[in-house]
């Protein structure tokens, strides 16, 4: 989480200095390059991900609710989204696991937690209720905004507020705001 801080600090200290071969000055272009690669990759990934959400129907709440309505006029389409996404991502994470660094040069680190905690189960239950109430989850809310549904911003702001509330409570309890991060 501290990578970009280091990058900007180094850049600020050495504007236009000739590299001396020492670590601090030699690091600046590398960190800049890493930040640029990561921003470009994130933008490209966001566009492809968003296109996938729109094409698949995930950003259409009535379709999501019809998928969850197994006792009614069930539309199982969205099960195919999971099949498609997981099969590709399964290969992707296998490839990632074999690498020690990402293409940007960042150390390859994947989530490693295995503990089933009360907050995992309770949180997922609360999320499921919200998802079933509206038919929107986080990614599709942003895509729906881009599809012209301006009122999706209400959902997004409330969602960020809810997440901020959890961070605040955790921070007051533990004094560790970063304890909340990491899948």
């Amino acid at each position: 989480m501290g990578r970009t801080v280091t990058a900007s600090d180094t850049r600020a200290q050495t504007p236009g200095d000739a590299p001396t071969g020492e670590a601090p000055t030699g690091e600046a272009p590398t960190s800049d390059r890493r930040a640029r690669v990561e921003i470009a990759a994130a933008l490209a990934a966001g566009i492809v991900f968003g296109a996938g959400l729109v094409i698949s129907g995930m950003s259409d709440p009535p379709k999501v609710l019809a998928f969850l309505d197994v006792a009614g006029d069930w539309d199982p389409s969205l099960a195919f989204v999971m099949v498609g996404a997981i099969s590709i991502a399964f290969v992707g994470f296998r490839l990632a696991r074999k690498r020690s660094t990402s293409l940007s040069g960042a150390p390859m680190s994947l989530p490693s937690r295995r503990d089933i905690t009360p907050s995992l189960v309770i949180g997922s239950a609360i999320f499921g209720i919200g998802w079933g109430l509206v038919g929107l989850c986080p990614g599709p809310a942003f895509a729906a905004l881009g599809q012209g549904h301006a009122d999706a911003i209400l959902f997004i702001v409330a969602m960020l507020g809810g997440a901020g509330l959890v961070d605040l409570v955790r921070w007051r309890r533990d004094g560790d705001p970063d304890g909340a991060t990491g899948t």
């Binding site: 990934a45 991900f49 129907g57 992707g92 949180g123 919200g130 998802w131 999706a152």
Partner: protein, 148 residues
């Protein structure tokens, strides 16, 4: 309540794109494409630039699709109160669980993570339960909710 059509091919193709984007992000930057975490970290983390770029990509994707003629518009309306209550529940829940449909449901299951299997089973079950209660019992009317 509205009728939807069965779209296995479009949904599969959309899923392949989502999986491709997830693969791109992890190989390029060693990041997991979990949208709830990416968005929540916008407020609390120091690395805002790539998070903002990813979310911007999600928002501009429909417009780019429109340029290719593949755009599909949606015509839903949801009560503002429902959007806010649902958004709050989704925000609190995904932050407590450290992930949502993308982080747990796609990336986590693809990594064969037991945590994500439990999370996905739980939110699927509660999502189905909520829709069933609202649509097939008198609960929605009793609470004054318009069942979607």
């Amino acid at each position: 309540m509205s009728d939807t059509t069965f779209t296995p091919i479009a949904s599969l193709v959309g899923g392949l794109l989502i999986g491709g984007a997830t693969t791109l992000l992890v190989l390029a930057s060693s990041r997991v494409a979990g949208v709830s975490g990416i968005a929540a970290g916008l407020a609390s983390s120091s690395d805002r630039a790539w998070r903002g770029a990813f979310l911007l990509g999600l928002v501009i994707a429909p417009a780019l699709l429109a340029a290719t003629g593949l755009f599909t518009s949606t015509t839903w309306t949801i009560e503002p109160t429902t959007l806010v209550v649902g958004g709050l529940l989704v925000g609190v829940g995904t932050r407590l669980a450290n992930g949502c449909t993308s982080g747990h449901g796609v990336s986590g299951l693809a990594r064969l993570s037991p945590r994500s299997a439990v999370a996905t089973a739980t939110f699927m079950l509660l999502g189905i339960g909520t829709v069933t209660l609202l649509r097939h019992t008198g609960l929605a009317g009793g609470l004054g909710w318009a069942a979607q």
